[in-house]
């Protein structure tokens, strides 16, 4: 990784094997890397299972905050990733709960704009959340505000309404109330190629109304790596490889944490964009450039076959 800035190195079989020999921790994004929606990417399950069997620590790092980790375990199983357990899964919702419980040590309530998946992670961590029942006729002019709200946490919220934005804005007027975001992704792709508005769009609205900047828990912020490191009693960044599909989140995350990065081309970002960032005059853009590129995670398979191991 040291040396002249190159980046975007396309690698194959033997080179992948050499890379894997040097890494103990493989961090994988999920959407666009190992699956699209409910469909696993061809070969991905074999790759993940092989990595685990070869003694690598495999962890999944996802900004998707819509489901609790138990649901993820079921999904992994459903899609053929049979060796994955709860402790390998790091979602932005789980890490947000850890942040509130262990870093902030929150005393007081949290106003949550997010889905049930996020609320469940908070409940499991014992974080008190403001109840979400709004009278259908309530408006900001006549609604009650909860007392003792010490944090506003914003994630993907398909039940977002003007009233919720207004309430969040009111709570954020207190400078002692934290402003947290599970992630800042402006939009999310669906497997069909369509997209949906992401957490980033709601956060943008609140940043405008409050004049404050949110603290982002998910990628590209370092916090999820700190959660991983903490759980595994210390992880050396030099031993890690981060594999993702989105330059602005996965690659930047890897770069921020001092990890080697690999872009797979089965998701959001195209190789041309990576090259654009590499050729950019703004050196900050260089942090978005992957060290390595593969067409698909399945490109790892020959590396295992060469070792003479069954790739199943």
């Amino acid at each position: 990784m040291a040396g002249a800035f190159k980046g975007c190195q396309k690698i194959r079989g033997p080179q992948i094997r050499n890379l894997l020999d040097a890494k103990d921790f493989i961090l994988l994004d999920c959407d666009g890397v190992i699956w699209h929606g409910e469909k696993a990417i061809t070969g991905a399950a074999k790759v993940v299972n092989s990595l685990i069997r070869h003694g690598k620590n495999v962890v999944f790092v996802t900004n998707n905050c819509t489901r609790p980790r138990e649901n993820y375990v079921h999904k992994f199983c459903r899609l053929g990733f049979t060796d994955v357990i709860l402790e390998q899964i790091f979602s932005s919702s789980y890490c947000s709960a850890l942040y509130l419980r262990d870093v902030v040590k929150i005393r007081g309530q949290v106003f949550v704009m997010g889905c049930d998946g996020l609320r469940r992670e908070l409940d499991e961590a014992g974080i008190p959340c403001v109840e979400e029942a709004d009278d259908p006729d309530a408006t900001i002019y006549d609604c009650a505000l909860a007392p003792d709200v010490k944090a506003v946490l914003v994630g993907h919220d398909d039940k977002m309404t003007f009233l919720k934005l207004a309430k969040a804005s009111c709570y954020l007027r207190d400078p002692d109330c934290l402003f947290l975001a599970t992630d800042n992704d402006p939009w999310h792709p669906l497997s069909s190629g369509r997209i949906l508005p992401g957490s980033g769009s709601l956060i943008a609205a609140l940043e405008v109304s409050s004049g404050r900047k949110a603290t982002v828990i998910g990628k590209p912020s370092r916090f999820m790596f700190e959660c991983i490191s903490s759980q595994f009693s210390g992880v050396d960044p030099a031993q890690c490889l981060m594999i993702g599909d989105r330059l602005e989140t996965d690659m930047l995350f890897g770069s921020n944490c001092g990890l080697d990065t690999m872009l797979t081309l089965t998701g959001v970002s195209q190789i041309e964009k990576a090259q654009e960032y590499r050729n950019s005059e703004l050196t900050t853009n260089h942090s978005l450039v992957p060290d390595y590129v593969v067409d698909t995670i399945a490109d790892f398979l020959p590396a295992f076959e060469e070792l003479g191991e069954p790739s199943n």
């Binding site: 408006t139 900001i140 002019y141 505000l145 919220d157 398909d158 039940k159 977002m160 309404t161 003007f162 934005l165 207004a166 804005s169 009111c170 007027r173 402006p186 939009w187 669906l190 069909s192 369509r194 997209i195 949906l196 508005p197 992401g198 980033g200 769009s201 709601l202 943008a204 609205a205 609140l206 940043e207 405008v208 109304s209 004049g211």
Partner: protein
Amino acid sequence: MTALRAAALAKQVLDSVDSAVPGAPQVINLLKENGKKVFFVTNNSTKTRKMYVDKLSVLGFNAKEDEVFGTAYCSAMYLKTVCKLEGKVYLIGSNAMREEMEAVGLQQTGVGPDHVLGKQTDWANVPLDPEVKAVVVGFDEHFSYMKLNRAMQYLTQPGCLFVGTNRDTRLPLEGGKAVPGTGCLLQAVETAAQRQAQTVGKPNHFMFDCVASQFGVDPDRCLMVGDRLDTDIMLGSNCGLKTLLTLTGVSTVADAEAHQKSGCAERQGMVPDYYVESIAELLPALQG
């Protein structure tokens, strides 16, 4: 005295809780009696011109409909006369915006409550009206994830226009509450769609263009009066008008001096030529 555009009054009168700034109605009415043309220019998009005139009358102002320029009216005019829009509008906004659009012959879809139903794949595949050729965002108390989603889906279509009424960040309320302004809703849509909207309201010059095209106004003979440096005074600067800050609203003299001393060329546009404590200070000059 030059022709006065009473934007300060627009802000105080039209948007606040039903009370005129003391002395304001007398000032406006005297100006008109002295032969000055007076126009009300506001970024608020929740009322039609007729609704504003009704409110102004109740508060003692002599005002006519064609003297009022709000962003509901100006957005419709912008789409019609500048964009020459042929096609429908997907509208995130009020009934007032809908009325002003229909008044210039533009059809819209989207006004009113719109909650999310079904699953994620349903939302991404939400049926799009093929006649929609523009997305317009104004103040909307029914703003929801579904509306944000629809707007974003339309905006991913090539050739779809994107217009916002204004970027005001919030509306203050009593009791320590704050209402997010149109600027928040617009930023949400811009972020999801990864596109910037064209805004119609102050400080963009379009609202002045609207007045000037209808009334043959000479910028050299105009005075822009307002209480916000970043919208009212900036508009005046952008259009070559003299500007007067009144201190009965948002901005302070200290704010203005900070812009002046900043040494930043862009910020000089927010330095007013003159300031008064209140519009009522003009009374002696008018009565004498």
